[in-house]
Symmetry: C2
C-alpha cells in the first residue's frame, strides 16, 4: 500500500505507480469524516488543557477510528466518489434533463423573459443576513487570501444584487443555474446539496397583482406541460399573515419567528406546531388557538370575501390590503382560466388561498405561493416518491433596496421551479415506461462492407459533417459489418451509409434503414439530400 504522497509523486513525474489505493465505498468517506472530527476534538481538548484522562479517552477513540480505516498518519485510502449530496448526470439523465429544461425555458420565453447569469460564488457579505436561520447552510470558500466568498444559496439574492449594481429598475428575466446548501441530503427524494433552480422574476413598479398573476400562470403552464400529474398551488400573502398574527395577539417582535413555525404545518401536526409556538417561542396558548382557527382555512374567492367581512381581521390595515390584492389576484387567475380545472367527475381546485402557507424565507413582503404535486407518480413502486413542493415564490419588494447605495426600492415578484424533484419523477416515469431514450441525435452511421475502406469512410463522413448531417463511424480500421449494424441498433441510429468496393465502382452508396432492413443504392451526389429527406421530421 502506497502513501498518498507517493501516489501523487508518481503522477507528477508522469509515471503511474501501480497499486495506489483507490476505494469506492461510501462508508469509508463517512469513517473519514468521523476520523477528522475526532482529530479536531483531540486537538481542541489539548488546546483547552483538558485533564490527561479526558484527552487519553478521546485519543483512544481516535486510534480506534484509524484502525477501522486501516490507516495511520500519511497513509489513507482515496475514495472514488462525488462529494456528499451531489451526483453526476449520465447521458440518459441529461437527455431527461434537457427535455424538462426545454419545457421550462420554452415557457419563460413564451412570456417574453430575457436571461441572465451570475457567478457561482458571491462576496460572503452579499449573502449575509438574507436567509434567517438557513444561513448556517451556506457553503463558504476557504480564505486563500483575497475576498471572502460563499457559494450562492439561491438565485434571488444574486438577482437583487445584480439589479442594484447595474441600477436596473425594470426587467423580466429567467435564470437557470445550480445553487448550494449544506443541508442533509435525501437524494432518493430529489434533495441534493447541489441542485438546479429555475427562476423567473419580474422587477419593476407596476399595477397591483398583474405580474404576480403571470407568475402563477407560468407555474401552471410548466406543471401542466411536464405532465407529471395533478397539482395544487397554494397562495397566501405575508400581509394577511402579519394581520392575522396581530389580531390573534402575537407581539410584533414575534411575527417572523411564529411565521417560521406556521411554515412547518405542511410536515407537522397542528399539535406539534402549537407546542412549538407556546413552549419554545413563548406565545400565549389562547393566541396560538386563535391562529389555529385561521390556518385551517383554505378556499377561493368565497373565503376571501368571508375574511374581508371577518370582524377582527377586517379591522387590520395590512390584512385588508392583503385580502384586497388576493381578491384581485383570483379575478385575474379566473381570466387566465386557471383558478379551477374540470376533471373527470367534478372540479379540481388547482389554486387555493391557504392561510397555513407561510414560506420560510424572510424576504417576502406580499403574495407568496407554493405548488405541490397531489399524488405519487410511480405507481409501480412500493415506496411512493415524496410528494412535496415543486415550485415556490412570492413578492419581495425590499430586497433590491438592501443592496442599493441609496436604498432605492425595486419591487419584485418571482417564482422558482424545484427541478430536482421533477427530474426524480421523470426518471422514474421513464424507468417504468421502458421507453428507450436516445442520448445522441446521430442520423447516419458511415459503415464499410469490406476491409481497407477506412479512407473512403473518412472522406464520406467528412462530406456529411460539412453538410450538417449528424454522422458517426466506428474508430476501427476494419470493423465488421455486423458490429457496425449492431452499433446502430444499440444507439437508435436510423440509417447506415454503407461503402463497398462495388458501390465505389458504381458511384453509389448503399443506404440501409435500420428498422426495416430495407436497402437502396443512392448515387453519391444525391446521398446528402436523401439522408435529409429521410430524417427531416423534427
Amino acid at each position: 500500500m502506497l502513501s498518498a504522497g507517493s501516489f501523487r509523486g508518481g503522477w507528477e513525474t508522469g509515471v503511474r505507480r501501480p497499486g495506489a489505493v483507490v476505494t469506492m465505498a461510501d462508508d469509508i468517506a463517512e469513517l473519514d469524516e468521523a476520523l477528522r472530527r475526532q482529530a479536531d476534538t483531540v486537538r481542541r481538548l489539548k488546546q483547552e488543557k483538558a485533564s490527561p484522562e479526558e484527552v487519553a479517552e478521546q485519543v483512544a477513540k481516535l486510534l480506534e477510528l484509524k484502525a477501522q480505516l486501516g490507516t495511520d498518519e500519511g497513509k489513507h485510502k482515496f475514495v472514488l466518489k462525488t462529494p456528499k449530496g451531489t451526483r453526476d448526470y449520465s447521458p440518459k439523465q441529461m437527455a431527461i434533463r434537457e427535455k424538462v429544461f426545454n419545457i421550462i425555458i420554452g415557457t419563460f420565453k413564451r412570456h417574453g423573459a430575457e436571461v441572465i447569469d451570475t457567478p457561482v460564488f458571491e462576496l460572503k457579505e452579499t449573502l449575509t443576513g438574507k436567509y434567517g436561520e438557513d444561513s448556517k447552510l451556506i457553503y463558504d470558500l476557504k480564505d486563500q487570501g483575497g475576498e471572502l466568498l460563499s457559494l450562492r444559496y439561491d438565485l434571488t439574492v444574486p438577482f437583487a444584487r445584480y439589479l442594484a449594481m447595474n441600477k436596473i429598475t425594470n426587467i423580466k428575466r429567467y435564470h437557470i443555474a445550480k445553487v448550494y446548501r449544506r443541508d442533509n441530503p435525501a437524494m432518493t427524494r430529489g434533495r441534493y446539496r447541489e441542485f438546479y433552480q429555475c427562476d423567473f422574476d419580474i422587477a419593476g413598479q407596476f399595477d397591483p397583482m398583474i405580474p404576480d398573476a403571470e407568475c402563477l400562470k407560468i407555474v401552471h403552464e410548466i406543471l401542466s406541460g411536464l405532465q407529471i400529474g395533478d397539482f395544487l398551488i397554494k397562495v397566501n400573502d405575508r400581509r394577511i399573515l402579519d394581520g392575522m398574527f396581530a389580531v390573534c395577539g402575537v407581539p410584533d417582535s414575534k411575527f417572523r419567528t411564529i411565521c417560521s413555525t406556521v411554515d412547518k404545518l405542511d410536515k407537522a401536526t397542528w399539535e406539534d406546531v402549537k407546542n412549538e409556538m407556546v413552549g419554545e417561542k413563548g406565545l400565549l396558548p389562547e393566541a396560538a388557538d386563535r391562529i389555529g382557527e385561521y390556518v385551517q382555512l383554505h378556499g377561493g374567492l368565497g373565503l376571501i370575501e368571508q375574511l374581508l367581512q371577518d370582524p377582527k381581521l377586517s379591522q387590520n390595515k395590512l390584512a385588508r390590503e392583503g385580502l384586497g390584492d388576493m381578491k384581485l389576484l383570483f379575478e385575474y387567475l379566473t381570466l387566465f382560466g386557471i383558478a379551477d380545472k374540470v376533471s373527470g367527475g367534478g372540479i379540481l381546485t388547482q389554486i387555493s388561498f391557504d392561510l397555513s402557507l407561510a414560506r420560510g424565507l424572510d424576504y417576502y413582503t406580499g403574495v407568496i405561493y407554493e405548488a405541490i404535486l397531489l399524488q405519487p407518480q410511480n405507481a409501480h413502486k412500493e415506496e411512493p416518491v415524496g410528494v412535496g413542493s415543486v415550485a415556490g415564490g412570492g413578492r419581495y419588494d425590499g430586497l433590491v433596496g438592501m443592496f442599493d447605495p441609496k436604498g432605492r426600492k425595486v419591487p419584485c415578484v418571482g417564482v422558482s421551479i424545484g427541478i430536482e424533484r421533477i427530474f426524480s419523477i421523470m426518471e422514474q416515469k421513464v424507468e417504468a415506461s421502458e421507453e428507450k431514450i436516445r442520448t445522441t441525435e446521430t442520423q447516419v452511421l458511415v459503415a464499410a462492407a469490406q476491409k481497407k475502406l477506412l479512407e473512403e469512410r473518412l472522406k464520406l463522413i467528412s462530406e456529411l459533417w460539412d453538410s450538417g448531417i449528424k454522422a458517426e463511424m466506428l474508430y476501427k480500421k476494419n470493423p465488421k459489418l455486423l458490429n457496425q449494424l449492431q452499433y446502430c441498433e444499440d444507439n437508435g441510429i436510423p440509417l447506415v451509409a454503407i461503402v463497398g468496393e462495388q458501390e465505389l465502382k458504381d458511384g453509389v452508396v448503399k443506404l440501409r434503414v435500420v428498422a426495416t432492413r430495407e436497402e437502396v443504392d443512392v448515387r453519391r451526389e444525391n446521398l446528402i439530400e436523401e439522408i435529409k429527406r429521410r430524417t427531416c421530421h423534427p
Copy 2:
C-alpha cells in the same frame, strides 16, 4: 454610518434600516484585501513573538489602511460587486453566448456526442496531483465539517473520475460548464477566474489517430462556424517531445520541467526560454541549443518525413512512434480536407506540426494541439484584442487509470474550447457592427386602444400563451397606446394585437406590423393562425 452588525440585524427582523453603507467602488475591495492581509501579518508576528518594534511598525501600517478605508473595528463598507475575476452576464451577453453555444453544441452533436454533467466541486483529493505547478490555483472550500472539497479546475479530471467510478471504457461525450482558477484575471482579454469550458472527449481503445483526427476536425468546424477570422492549429506529440529531449541530452528526470519551459515559447523569446533552462533548471547550454534547433521547426507531412530520417531522432523509439502516428494523423486530416485551405492568392496552412508546442498540463501522453487566432478581429479599436489560444487538447491515456481501483487504463483524447476569449471577440464584433441583438423572442404585444380593457387583454394573452405564441403585455391597468407601441420598437417585437371597444363589438382584433405600421382587422378566431403565419420563419 451603521455597523455591519446592525445592517444585518435590521434585515433579519424584516425592517429595512435606512442609510446602511453600500459602496460600488472596486478600489475599496482592493483596500479591503490589503487590510486583511496586513491584519494577518500583524497576527502572525504576534504569534511568532516578534520584537515589539517590528509589531508596532506593522500595526501602524494596519491603522493607516483602516484610516484610508474610513473604518474601524466592526464598521466597514459593504462593496457592491461580483467577486474578483468574475462577472455577470447581461441579457445581451447571454444572447451572444447562446449563439456561440449553439454552434459548439451543434458541432458536438453532429459528431454523435452524448452529454454528461458533474458537480461544480470535487473531493479535494480527486484534484490533488493532477495539475503540476498550477495546483496552487485551485479554489478550496472552507472546512465546515465533513469532506474537504475543491472547485473543479477543468472538466478533464472530473471526466476521468466519472469514467473510473462508473467503470465506463467507451464513450464520446461533451460537457459544457464553468471551471475555476485563482489566476490573475485579465478580464479585458477574456481571462476570468470563473469561466466556461466546452469539452469534447473520446474514450476507448481504438485504432491509432482516428479519434484524434476527429477532435481536430471538430476544432476546425467550430472555429470556421464561428466566423472569427483565420486560425492556426498547432499539433505536436508528447512522445516526440520526450524523444527530442532524450536525444538532446536532457536527463529523464527533467523531461516534465523542461517541457513546461518549452511551453512558454509562445509568449517568451528563445533567449528567455534558454536562460530558464540553463539558469533555473540546470540544463547544459549545449543541450538547450540542440533543443533550440528542433523547436523552431514547423510544417506538414514534409517535416514529418524529414524528421523520420533525422539521424538522431529516428534512433529514439518514442520519437519514432510519435512521428509515425503524426504521419497517420496528417493523412487523415488531408482526407478530412482540413490540412490546408485555399485562401485569396495562396494556400493558408491551417494545421501545422510544430515542435515548439508543449502544453502545460502533465497528463498528456500522446498527440497535443492548440488553436490560435491569426489576426485581431477588432480593427476599429486602437488596442488589438489579445490573440491567443482559443482551443487546446490532446491524448491522455493514463488519467482514468489513476482513479481506477485496479488501475485499468482507458485511453482518452479530447479538446477544450476556450469560450471566454471567443465571447470577447464576438461581443466586440457586435459592438462594432451596431447590429441590434434581440434579447427576447416575443412575437406579439397584446395592447389596448382605450382604457378599461385590462380584462380583455388578460383573456386574449392567456389564449395566445396557451396556443404556444410568445406574447407580452404591459403590466399597467390603462397603458397609453403610444407607450405600448414604443415598447415594441424598443424590444424588437414585430407584431401588436390591439384590443379596442369597436373591435370587441365586431369580434376582431387589430393586428399591427410594427416595422411597416400596416394594420389589419383579423377575426378573433383566426388570430392565432394569422400570428403564426406571420412569424413562422425561424
